[in-house]
């Protein structure tokens, strides 16, 4: 019996396989060295006909959106990890979130598709729960070697399946059902789909229990010499005792050791990377490492470039491949972002102060967390009226939301408590003398008195000053800014009923010294045509230097006499501006601005419409847990803003 080859040779592959991998298969067989064979394989997988997403078409299985929220809650509960679910195909993790495909492949079988989502999510959660992706050196290593990466991934997946199966009986059933689910076993290397038929015996034990292979008469049953290394690796991994801490701590070591052995074996056999089943997803070491860009050791590694791609480029050049592919590879090899180092001239210690300028603008210090100092007068905020336009824009919003407006008016009216004595109560704080005398008279006369002689003093709800600041940066263009306008219309209707002093401002900037604080409704302004026109005609543009605006808002609220002050921040993304005001710098400055505002007794609460990955994390850092709301749907903003406010003052 002829030994199977990988990729399949023309003799044992079906037509589709031959078309896709025929050339690569011949190149592997013709290669003079193991390295050349590996390059040829990588070329086939990376540059071949990529089925980037298995669910690009209309014929898909259950969409993630239908299960995302309950799935995210379930993953948090069973894994104990504070992660969210975001979209990417194949499934992966950046250690903060778990990414799952937008939909699983067709056909739609809801129960099975849910099972598949659960298993995909828990595979990624298992990597995190066991701390398998914590070591940066290890991540750099798997980033550089695709064969090692995939071998490790399969061994780690097996370990993770065992972890959850041992812990939860329900998950044991889920994972046991996987081999029966055909789409769980769709095989990919990177983004290229590869056939299961003709899979080399040396790979096959790695999929043990995860997927079921189609009948393959060419493979003899039971252990073979060919798969002995893979079987030995599995035995070593299965020996790990996950119920004890030493077993868990040893897991990364054992996995790496066994994956290295496999890597050497596969090079010897000229097999390249073992493909990954759909349910296992992929590893994205570059996503995790990119987050740690400030780490100098990593910077050194990263600057060397992307090793497998570099090797591939070399191979392509030797093969005389087209310039387009080479350019693509060169672009992919660019080093990652390098941490910005602030100008030493900025490093001045100073107290935070708002400095009024002659033109009415104010300058604010900015917090440089990396250096631990304020940068003096780093920003200038200038108040100006927001853009205006036809009144019809406002009217259209009102017309479209009549029912909502009525509802919010009623709800806010219920929030307002009149300052008055309530008479005729069977229980209260004081006796109503008139009724008491009347009752006494009844008693003396031998009648049963009405027990309604108490009064209670109802005080008006404490006045609260509310400033709502609305993100008008360029990214709000389109649907978001319209929802912001709707939210302002609804919220303003409620606040007018409530009678609390309030103001609405928009914010966006063109660099640190041009922060525009756009007055939509000032503190002293009433609701007239001017204000309506501004609300109905907000215009996006510019960046989000959020720290400066929060400092200015806190200053503005400080000018109000009310003891209780609330700042509502509506934003659609992370703090970001030109220069170094991006990433961690912007987040930490804004967090400091919020801290400063709270020191001035301003309650800061944020509603974010940021759909990007990591939003939860930076929002928690800036505003603190429980002091922000991350909307999963921008359309919900108009109704959620008044609801959040009610929750704050109830």
């Amino acid at each position: 019996m002829a030994a199977p080859t990988w990729p399949p040779t023309p003799q044992d592959a079906d037509k589709a396989t031959l078309e896709e991998y025929g050339e690569a298969a011949r190149a592997v067989l013709a290669a003079e060295t193991d390295e050349e064979a590996e390059h040829a394989l990588l070329a086939a997988f990376l540059m071949g006909r990529v089925k980037r997403q298995l669910t690009d078409g209309v014929d898909v299985g259950l969409p993630l959106e239908e299960v995302r929220r309950p799935l995210a809650g379930w993953v948090r509960m069973v894994s104990g990890l504070d992660v969210d679910i975001a979209v990417n195909d194949p499934a992966c993790t950046d250690t903060h979130d778990i990414y799952l495909p937008r939909a699983v492949p067709a056909p739609e079988t809801p129960e099975e598709d849910r099972l598949l989502y659960r298993c995909m999510a828990m595979v990624q959660a298992g990597f995190l729960a066991l701390g398998l992706l914590d070591d940066k050196r290890f991540l750099a290593e798997i980033h550089a070697d695709w064969v090692f990466r995939n071998a490790w991934h399969l061994l780690a997946t097996r370990l993770v399946v065992r972890l959850w199966s041992e812990r939860y009986p329900g998950l044991r059933k889920d994972f046991a059902a996987l081999p029966l689910l055909d789409k769980a076993g769709i095989m990919r290397v990177n983004l290229s789909e590869v056939p299961r038929r003709g899979m080399p015996g040396a790979f096959r034990p790695l999929y043990d229990g995860l997927v079921r292979f189609p009948t393959d008469d060419r493979l003899p049953p039971g252990p073979t010499a060919e798969d002995s290394v893979a079987r030995a690796a599995l035995v070593a991994v299965d020996r790990l005792d996950l119920s004890t801490l030493p077993g868990r701590k040893g897991a990364p070591l054992v996995l790496s050791g066994q994956a290295r052995r496999l890597r050497e074996e596969y090079r010897r056999l000229r097999l390249g990377p073992p493909p990954l089943p759909y349910v296992a997803g992929v590893l994205r070491p570059e996503w995790i490492l990119d987050d740690l860009a400030r780490d100098l050791a990593y910077e050194q590694e990263w600057k060397k470039g992307n090793t497998p791609l570099r090797s591939l480029l070399k191979a392509m050049q030797q093969k005389g491949a087209g310039g387009g592919i080479q350019d693509k590879l060169k672009r992919a090899m660019r080093p990652g972002r390098v941490a910005n180092v602030p100008d030493p001239a900025d490093l001045v210690t100073n107290e935070l102060q708002a400095r009024p300028e002659e033109d009415g603008s104010r300058q604010y210090d900015e917090w440089n967390a990396e250096r631990g100092h304020y940068v003096v007068a780093a920003t200038r905020v200038t108040e100006e009226p927001a853009g205006s336009g036809p009144i019809e824009s406002y009217q259209r919003i009102v017309d479209a939301n009549r029912a909502q407006i009525d509802r919010i008016r009623r709800q806010f009216a219920a929030l307002r408590v009149e300052e008055r004595w309530v008479h005729g109560l069977p229980d209260g704080t004081e006796i109503d003398l008139n009724r008491a005398v009347s009752a006494m008279a009844d008693i003396k006369a031998g009648h049963t008195p009405k027990v309604d002689w108490y009064v209670r003093f109802q005080r008006q709800r404490q006045q609260t000053a509310i400033l709502t600041m609305v993100d008008l940066s360029g990214s709000t263009q389109g649907g978001i800014i319209y929802r912001e306008q709707e939210a302002l219309v609804l919220f303003s209707e409620g606040l007018r009923v409530l009678g609390f002093p309030h103001a609405f401002y928009g914010f966006s900037n063109q660099g640190p010294m041009a922060c525009a604080w756009q007055r939509i409704k000032g503190w002293e302004e009433g609701y007239d045509e001017t204000v309506f026109k501004r609300i109905g005609n907000l215009r996006p543009g510019g960046a989000t230097r959020l720290g400066a605006f929060i400092r200015h808002a806190a200053w503005s609220l400080g000018s109000q006499p009310q003891q209780r002050r609330i700042l509502m921040v509506l934003s659609d993304g992370r703090p970001e501006d030109r220069g170094q005001y991006r990433g961690s710098y912007g987040v930490k400055d804004t967090a400091m601005a919020v801290h400063e505002a709270r020191r001035q007794d301003v309650h800061v609460h944020c509603i974010s419409m940021d759909a990007s990955e990591g939003a939860e994390e930076y929002l928690a850092e800036i505003f603190g847990k429980g002091r922000y709301l991350l909307l999963d749907d921008v359309d919900k903003l108009p109704t959620r803003l008044p609801e959040v406010f009610k929750g704050l003052v109830r």
Partner: protein, 259 residues
């Protein structure tokens, strides 16, 4: 004297409370709902052999509800002590549960009782009651509620010796659930596992995860003959949320843990 109510200490709270009581210092208990604050007060009152008067505060609770008021009885106007006044006269422990829910004048009436004066002025009767040594005021609140109007003022907070409570660790909570509900240890462990998992959803769809009290209820239902899954469904799903998606998450959790 009746037997001590069951209470499983999780730290040095008994020692701190006893010392505070001996020194006549008012005590503030902070912690999430159903973590054992009220039980602790009952336990300590019993341990110190003092009566305890519990007042569940709500937004209509005014100072007069605590101090007392004139009532008409048989044609006469008669002063009736409120629970606070009664507590001062009897030298009891007065426990104001969820005190931030009460009206702000409640805190004002507490002030002279929480400093070295330890007196309760009654404007209506012209009395000024001096609190006996055994009188102790204990308040509790849940700092997890994020409401501008439901935060304890700094000036008030600093009048109290503070004890922070949280849900106990897994082993202790299992012991508590088993003891309180009468269910076996394995069932208690399962319930605690589920309960602790639900707390991961706090601020991710649930305002609160399952409290120890709720886990005890579930255990009691099991002891009462209900299958574990049904007991969990009735307590750890239905009582935690009305949201359909969260309900689905919780049901999936039950399926994962219980098989």
């Amino acid at each position: 004297m009746s037997a001590l109510p069951y209470y499983r200490p999780t730290g040095n709270e008994i020692e701190v409370f006893e010392t505070a009581a001996r020194l006549k210092l008012p005590v503030l208990l902070k912690g999430p709902t159903g973590c054992g604050k009220s039980r602790f007060v009952r336990y300590m009152a019993s341990k110190l052999s003092r009566p305890v008067i519990t007042v569940a505060c709500q937004e209509d609770l005014a100072a007069a509800d605590l101090t007392g008021r004139f009532m008409l009885e048989g044609g006469e106007t008669v002063w009736r002590d409120g629970p606070l006044t009664r507590g001062v006269r009897e030298g009891a422990i007065v426990y104001l549960d969820e005190v931030v829910e009460a009206r702000s004048d409640v805190m004002t009436v507490l002030h002279p009782l929480t400093d070295d004066r330890r007196v309760l002025p009654l404007d209506r009767t012209g009395e000024e009651l001096a609190a006996p040594d055994s009188f102790l005021i204990v308040i509790s609140y849940n700092p997890g509620y994020q409401s501008v109007t439901r935060e304890l003022k700094e000036s008030t907070r600093q009048r109290f010796v503070s004890l922070s409570f949280d849900y106990p660790d897994e082993a202790v909570e299992t012991e508590i659930v088993a003891k309180e509900s009468g269910c076996d240890a394995a069932t208690a462990a399962r319930l605690v596992e589920i309960g602790r998992a639900t707390r991961k959803l706090k601020s991710h769809g649930l305002k609160e995860g399952a409290s120890t009290r709720l886990l005890v209820y579930a255990g009691q239902l099991v002891t009462g003959g209900l299958p574990l899954r049904q007991a969990c469904e009735a307590t750890l799903v239905g009582s935690l949320t009305d949201d359909q998606e969260m309900t689905r998450s919780l049901r999936e959790l039950l399926r994962s843990v219980l098989g």
